[in-house]
């Protein structure tokens, strides 16, 4: 079930350079949300944008969900400026979710790709699964806030070494793999990172789940606008068959 719900902004916190966390009161959506799911938001009028914008759910509470958003355009810049109590028109939860995995998962978030990873890791922690690792990769330290309260410790990496390990996500993953191997990898981030993770997964034979981003028109599987190419030929829909795909099924 998906629903359209009008939700009040409970808080809108700037957490890093051009990055903010929105907490929105959405009891129905929160009740149904699973890690990997996303929602779509009607752009605020002042943004001038027409189509709803998709965002991964980064966490939930009893009656709210959280989002981690980077201001990169008209909608996201407008969202960044919204005050508490402003109402948003939200549809969700949409898409599939990460599969249940009983072993440990290494999770990699590139930029705002961290959102679904945060959600997945906190749900797994609550479920008693304790051996997960999280890597949050960014270009510089300005892009990466400290998130102390998260139930799973977060490792950081930056291209310039200004925070955490130096190097991109793929390099850090390779490094980690020299010492250990997880039961699965879950990753969400920019295209280049996903491509690299897919290759590493294939090389090391690790079950890997990628949460993809593609421009979406409907977000509910009605338009075939958000295609991802399959290794087996043809396409699937990121919004409906995904956004979470096994890395060996898709062409990046």
């Amino acid at each position: 079930m998906k629903t359209r719900e009008t939700g009040q902004i409970l808080s809108n916190k700037r957490i890093a350079e051009n990055l903010f966390e929105l907490k929105i009161k959405l009891p129905e959506i929160a009740a149904m949300a699973q890690p990997g799911n996303f929602i779509t938001i009607l752009p605020p009028a002042e943004s001038g944008r027409y189509l709803r914008r998709p965002f991964s759910i980064s966490g939930k509470g009893d009656n709210f969900i959280t989002l981690v958003i980077r201001g990169i355009g008209k909608t996201t810049d407008s969202l960044a400026l919204l005050r508490e109590k402003t109402c948003l028109d939200v549809i969700g939860p949409l898409g599939n979710s990460y599969p249940k995995i009983s072993g440990n998962i290494w999770m990699i978030g590139g930029g705002t790709g961290i959102a679904s990873v945060l959600f997945l890791s906190s749900m797994r922690k609550t479920a008693g699964l304790k051996n997960d690792r999280i890597l949050w990769a960014g270009q510089t330290k300005d892009a990466l806030p400290d998130i102390y309260k998260h139930p799973v410790a977060i490792d950081y990496s930056t291209d310039d070494g200004s925070k955490g390990e130096k190097g991109n996500a793929a390099m850090v993953l390779e490094k980690w793999l020299k010492r250990d191997k997880p039961d699965a990898v879950a990753a969400c981030g920019p295209h280049g990172m996903m491509k690299a993770v897919k290759e590493i997964a294939a090389e090391h034979g690790i079950e890997t789940w990628l949460s993809l981003e593609e421009f979406m028109a409907c977000g509910v599987g009605a338009c075939a606008g958000c295609a991802v190419k399959l290794e087996s030929g043809g396409y699937e829909k990121v919004c409906d068959d995904g956004p979470v795909f096994r890395s060996d099924r898709i062409v990046l």
Binding site: M1, K2, T3, R4, L42, G48, R49, Y50, L51, R52, D89, I91, E214, F215, M216, A217, C218, G219, V220, G221, A222, C223, A224, G225, C226, A227, V228, K229, G233, G234, Y235, D240
Partner: protein, 312 residues
């Protein structure tokens, strides 16, 4: 709502009777069940499913959509499951959920032969109330020129379909035709029962950061509010030239205001496409506001407003 209030919205398109004039546009409403949580098929006057071809089609390489001022561009490339699966799976699922909804199939061929087969199969299926001919398809035998770009090839398509089906035939006109009115006339003369004006306007967008077209297919079709003035003019001209043939407006409708503009231009019904993406419940707002407008202006029926602006 009183009984006569209900009738305010009823629409007639030749032999096709709709409970309201709002129709979900092909390609924006999937196979009729994707939006069931928001605007189920039963609440529309009719729904038109994704255009279907004989064989399954993968569609164009991504990206397939992008946003532009006042709307979007799409180059889905007629990705669809093909006629067999459409009838055996998609229509079954649809009818299981929405037994009584008025359902229009849209067919898209690359040759006259394909159109003939498609219309025949639809006709036999017994589950479909009418068929919309998407003539804005590349004609393989004419080097990819769209069937809808000139009156003669449009007429040939309609005639082929007409021979193979007794269902009401809707001909959906492309705004890119040199003379959409001549194409509409040719379609009417070849057996189309209803004209739909219009499909998307060809357009493109370039990503200046990458220095290349945004869409995998380079070109796509522009839809959304940006196109309504152009679409409205074509509907108006078709109604003026062919006042007898039932007309459906389409292009950028996302409010009662724009819907009523098409009605007043001569459309007995209208399609909603891109607006559903933005607000999957816009159908209800639009219908409510049309009803309120009709009552305020003292119209007993939307039908009485059809074409009133066309005398000018």
């Amino acid at each position: 709502m009183m009984e006569n209030d209900k009738n305010i919205l009823a629409a007639t398109l030749g032999t096709l009777n709709l409970k309201n004039p709002a129709i979900a546009a092909s390609g924006t409403y999937g196979y009729g069940t994707e939006y069931s949580d928001f605007c189920p098929a039963d609440d529309w006057g009719a729904v038109i499913l994704k255009s279907v071809s004989e064989k399954p089609r993968d569609g164009n390489p991504p990206p397939r959509c992008c946003e532009v001022e006042g709307g979007m561009i799409n180059s889905i490339g007629l990705a669809n499951v093909g006629m067999e699966k459409f009838l055996s799976e998609k229509m079954q699922e649809f009818r299981k959920k929405h037994e009584k909804a008025v359902c229009i199939a849209s067919i898209a061929g690359e040759s006259l032969a394909e159109f003939e087969k498609l219309s025949e199969r639809i006709n036999e299926s017994g589950k479909i109330d009418a068929v919309e001919i998407n003539i804005s398809c590349p004609n393989v035998s004419k080097g990819g020129m769209h069937f809808g770009s000139d009156p003669q090839s449009a007429a040939e398509v309609i005639a082929s379909c007409r021979r193979n089906t007794s269902l009401p035939l809707l001909a959906k006109i492309s705004p890119a035709a040199g003379s959409p009115v001549d194409v509409a006339r040719a379609c009417a003369d070849s057996g189309a029962d209803i004209i739909v004006a219009v499909n998307t306007i060809p357009g493109m967008k370039i990503d200046i950061e990458k220095g290349k077209p945004v869409l995998g297919n380079i070109f796509g079709g522009l839809s959304g509010p940006a196109i309504y003035p152009a679409a409205l003019r074509i509907a108006f001209l078709i109604h003026r030239a062919l006042p007898e043939i039932p007309l459906i407006g389409c292009g950028g409708i996302d409010s009662a205001d724009t819907a009523l503009q098409f009605i007043m231009a001569g459309c007995s019904a209208f399609q909603i496409g891109t607006a559903t993406f933005r607000n999957p419940e816009c159908l209800y707002t639009i219908l409510d506001n049309i009803r309120i407008f009709m009552q305020k202006k003292g119209y007993k029926s939307v039908k009485d407003a059809v074409g009133i602006a066309a005398e000018y």
